[in-house]
Symmetry: D2
């Protein structure tokens, strides 16, 4: 079995109602950062807007944004990026009657023929996951060649020797196109690379080291002395770990900070919106997203990621969003977003990644 | 690395205080089912009692029981099995001063030299588990030849194709000496074997079958028609699954019922105390216990299992008790019982068992 | 606002299809405990069967049972209670076409006008529960006079001084018609009444008592000496606690055992099916069920409880089933059974019961 | 029972070893943001440093920082705030022998006499919480007059009518000295105030509003139009809710952003370290902290909050840190920090706050 991109069925624009529909109403933003009354907010689905008599797809979408027409393209912008006078689409119907057409079912036919990629509600630890693993392997093999695989990682998989090794394998085999994470993942992973511990415990034997609680701070301090993660890796002769593997393979690493952070490591984006921009730059290219063991970054990535992507050749394909978490609450929270949106796997991130590492090793 | 049984250090009975200690006091039980005042209740540890001037180990122990001397042996009995007039050990000190000596640290030296088998508190999904897997593989390879490996299973691992296959492999390779479970595990597993579904969903594709909610009832009804699980397997040509594998390999299956059960399948013990007796018969021989994805049966098995076992050659060795559960609450509840008692692994039972299946395949 | 029983809309039996429908097929059971092929299994909803040209409601229903016509009445029996030759309804359609009509929507109109009693899916700790509390208070005030309120309790609310007091208040005010629980709830509650501890810790100050781990065993042993819970309460001068309050008010207490139990207390039903019968005797009269902090007993009670009850005057009313649990997994597992079936409240049972105690005190 | 500040027992500086101890070593920071090798990192406990022959307490402490002597005072600074040349305390012993004395047990005597404020490990939903509520009421009554009560809130308690009302009561009665939260809490609370919904559902009836998913965006957009939360409240005639109550009572509101945020509301600090500074400004005055239903902000606040505070009159008192969360994992994660550090209550935040509202109403 090998993965085929499901065909996208665009709306039937020759339909009389859509042909007769008016242009979308554009209203100038009253001030920077402020949308006009009755602005239209985007969903996770493909959305079309009638401009000068033509239906245009907003290609680079994400949810909870406004749509701005700049005279040429439809831009999907966060509220904080609105400029006074931007021409914002206004209207809250979705059926085309105001020139706004939300199209949630573009992949539903193909979903029927490939049902196992359909997304079910209310998954639990008692859901059978064998087929999900098999389909995911297939998807990753495809997208390694033809897509952009974005990983969103919490710190859990940096604590454990086998998990670090498994993720490294995935990086080396080309299954990681970008890594989005926080200060904690990078710090604990580099602590493992530099001092062989995570939070002061040996990453394999779990034994505590004397004064081991200093180890993560020492790692950060040393990296700051060298001025960048790359220089730290080089100067200290780091030769293993998740971050090391990404640096070696030139995989972009986007580290976004939070109020929870020590340090931080050099390179961490501690402005939340600068962080979102950097995440969106990767996620807007994503064809598959795997978010593991982090509620904060998973929800952030989920907010930014639409259900579809327009490939360079114009083909519209689904974006697959996997959430791997041991908590059903976290895993299902995003999965509530709707069909074809997110598939949750309820397990320990370590076991998940070791499975992937083994299956994709060859 | 290969597993060595840690050496047991018995109490030093030449110690003056122990030599001078009085005999344990024995008081007749006042009625059936009733212990005398100030009865001594057992722990999970080796316990010695001074009888006629000699320290004797209660060999077949379990916690929260009384100790009865029948004139020859020390019997560790549940309260419900007390008979009027039984000579019950009385006294609530543990240091030998009343002829009762609880010995919790018999394995502590060896634990120092083999520290990774020491049991840590407060394990979570962020605990690094690589070494636990490696040590468990080693332990199972040893105990397959030299021990008795008891599995306690909730239904989760019968829902999933890969998990069923992995467990089957373990049975075939001799890693399962006995299976303790409830009606649900057996029913869902046999539903999978007989109709290829679990609760009406295909065990691989997860697709619902028409009227699939009848499948578990049909399975039970059919088994009852045949009169036993063994005859059902034979008559219906069952050739796969957990129960099938155990039957093929003559692995004892103890199915204990609960108020939650439909049916039940033939052979399920629906008297709770008859069920406990059958469980204890296996657990009193256990050298390793792995309890997965069931709070009820795990706690029941934990209550019955001591931390040590006296081998036929008189050697005292530890009993290793693993709890695999996705809920930290469940996994840590039993692990609270004390050191050397239980080690918890917080993960999805499916992933755990697939890991074991792969590692022990060869 | 005060609670009104929603009106039940029976199927329209003058409908041509239902009038033309054949009688339900009755097939004799081939053996004790065994249903005939293609038996019909009951759901949680009202179900009608055409017998001798008349549609009859199976009044005392529960799910996953068979329907037997004894020449006069429709009996809903567990498989284990089938006798060879019983006339069992056969057929797996639900639309009347085989004389079997399942009627899930009998309360849907009234639900529209009283929408807040509708049951939503996917409740979490972030669901707003204010209205649920208010409606529950209202319901309990009604059913105290006009219904049968069955409580299903796990041990959690016996560990805490305020919770025990709150539940006692509910018993005294008539809000408890029956108590279903296990050995643990009764043991810990009586330990609190007798020795002021729960598992050896003071139920208010949480301080450990010396040798406190003996306290639950001493309580059981003492109760066994006296021979019954009632005699224990009298002989030892117990004057507080959940069990004491129920005994004082002659509230039936059904204690069902499990393989997890020590002891047990006298009166515990340790045959799982005898236990189910005793539970069903109470649940078949229930108009409201509140199940708290126990997965085992909640699921057992849920299996036994239909969504409706026929009152002595022939009126059909809904049965309200509440699940109170801190785990979303447990709380939502039963709630999956379908609309109008179960409403989950995700919280600590202590806080829940203290709220109820305060609100219903007056 | 009324709350008394436990007496603090300072180290015995007349002890010979402490008198003979050398001065702490001060080493200049090699660069901005970088500590010298072997820097000393702070804990959550009182720490003394010998400077010019005198033991000085670092009064404004927080963990995982460095200690800098500016010639007059000991400053506890985050690594990111180190300036090149700052004189940083160096040394990793804690017993005074290098002029560094960590003093974790300053309150232990008083803890003995007031044991219930001692903090226990491994709390679960089965822990009895009655005494915790009673002591907390007592503590809040005391600290309303004599302390600084900082609340750290996740969005959960803004979703529910009773919870919002209860928190409002606490603000009005003076039990809230500062509010730390994220964009989500403020947005959902203001959505409730402005449009009577939370995420589009009525905050009491839970009914969905048409196009209700626009409500939180409309609230933010409107607040941005007005330019500040205060002007929004005034211009739109907001007269209820958590944020409204704080504004009315001039309670400082610190809103820190994250990558998960829409919007954000005006006033949200979206630089993580600017956010930490604003949080520390409040937390360095805190005598009691209550963190509810947020992992991110709770951990952030926990990192910043020491176990003690020096009052203006020089008295050293404990800081009480409560974590209220429905997840044991979250609640216990911080509580692991050590004794006297954090007390967790495992429950739904709604029920917790409604209890407090009722108890402290009078």
């Amino acid at each position: 079995m090998s993965f085929q991109i499901p065909a996208y069925v665009a709306p039937n624009f020759s339909d009389e109602a859509l042909r007769a529909a008016p242009d979308a109403v554009l209203t100038p933003a009253p001030a920077d950062f402020v949308a006009p009354e009755e602005y239209h907010a985007t969903s996770i689905y493909p959305e079309y807007f009638k401009i000068d008599g033509h239906w245009m797809l907003a290609e680079q979408s994400r949810m909870d944004c406004v749509v701005i027409y700049d005279g040429e393209d439809l831009l999907v912008k966060e509220f904080r990026n609105i400029k006074r006078g931007d021409k914002v689409v206004v209207g809250r119907t979705e059926d085309g009657s105001e020139g706004i057409l939300v199209h949630p079912c573009g992949f539903s036919d193909s979903v029927d023929t490939h049902e196992s990629f359909a997304f079910r509600q209310s998954r639990s630890c008692e859901t059978a996951f064998s087929i999900d693993y098999d389909l995911l392997y297939e998807l990753l093999r495809h997208d390694r060649e033809h897509g952009h695989i974005v990983w969103v990682l919490g710190p859990a998989c940096s604590f454990d020797a086998d998990s670090r090794r498994a993720f490294t394998t995935l990086v080396e085999r080309g299954y990681v196109s970008a890594l989005l994470a926080g200060n904690a993942l990078a710090t604990h992973d580099l602590e493992g690379s530099y001092l062989n511990t995570a939070l002061g415990q040996d990453i394999y034997t779990q034994k505590g080291y004397p004064n081991g609680h200093y180890n993560h701070l020492d790692t950060i301090n040393r990296a700051r002395l060298h001025g960048s993660i790359e220089r730290f890796i080089e100067a200290e002769g780091i030769d293993n770990g998740i971050i090391h593997a990404c640096v070696q393979k030139s995989v972009p690493i986007i580290l976004t900070g939070s109020i929870r952070d020590d340090g931080p490591l050099p390179g961490v984006l501690y402005d939340a919106y600068e962080g979102q921009e950097a995440m969106r730059a990767q996620l807007s290219r994503a064809t598959t997203v795997i978010a593991m063991a982090t509620a904060l970054h998973t929800i952030a990535a989920g907010n930014i990621t639409p259900t579809f992507r327009v490939l360079p050749d114009g083909i519209v394909r689904p974006v697959y969003f996997y959430i791997v978490d041991i908590s059903e609450f976290t895993a299902n929270k995003l999965a509530d977003r709707g069909s074809l949106s997110a598939k949750s796997i309820i397990t320990n991130a370590q076991d998940f990644i070791v499975h992937l590492g083994k299956a994709l090793e060859a």
